[in-house]
Symmetry: C2
Subunit: 139 residues, 2 copies
């Protein structure tokens, strides 16, 4: 946190897209920080979760389900495969595809990441210590 935030001009403060962006980077950082404790990023979690839920799939299918571009998927799967969280086998029925399978180690890893992400969501949604009924000055 190099930059102590100053007061934003009202012209900027009220812009929805800026508010959303601010919320998103705060949320992303909380999640990313949590996942970093396991050396993971949000994509790893997304891919593992998708695999756990719908079983083995091709890389393209995983990309569609998680929103990850297929070009980026390659690196993610390389990392997951290096960590033995996932196996990448050529599909015998369609030789264009790879079949991605979740390993037991991957499933365990997913459970750890899932806990971290859940924690992050809780931290996200409950940042106000006392939700006091007599409501705040800027109401």
């Amino acid at each position: 946190m190099d930059q102590p935030p100053g007061p934003a001009p009202t012209r900027l403060r009220a812009i929805p897209s800026r508010l959303i962006a601010g919320a998103a980077i705060a949320a992303d950082r909380i999640v990313a920080d949590r996942l970093a404790t396991e050396g993971a990023r949000k994509w790893h979690f997304a891919v593992l979760a998708a695999l756990a839920e719908t079983g083995a799939a091709s890389q393209a299918e995983l990309g569609r389900r998680t929103g990850i571009y297929r070009s980026d998927m390659v690196a993610v799967l390389n990392e997951l495969a290096d960590a033995d969280c996932v196996r990448r086998d050529p599909d015998p029925v369609d030789r264009r595809r790879n079949v991605i399978t979740l390993t037991p180690a991957g499933r365990r890893h997913l459970e750890r990441l899932d806990a971290l992400v859940s924690d992050a969501q809780r931290e996200l949604l409950a940042p106000s210590p006392p939700p006091s009924r007599a409501n705040s000055s800027t109401c």
Copy 2:
């Protein structure tokens, strides 16, 4: 749009940070697309708006007000200065600082960008054509 989105696993669909992130990238894209028609990015708009509202300021002060890192501010101001939207003069009273001043051209540019951003916000907040009272299937 290379990737036709597929159905996301429910485990992912319900995660707040993912929803926020999705909203943010949609919002960012709308704004960025609009601003691109004038060759600008959101930072240019933010800096010009901050200058218009509070008058001349140092680069560091602008950074605090807009949320832009002072290292990135340099390039933004270079671009704005190249386009004659802004002047960058050494501060006579504190020689560490530069005084950034909005030029008439900059003010005109700001008005154009402001219109684009306003349009974007409207598009953002009104994506549902009929807000029909008999409410949607997934209620």
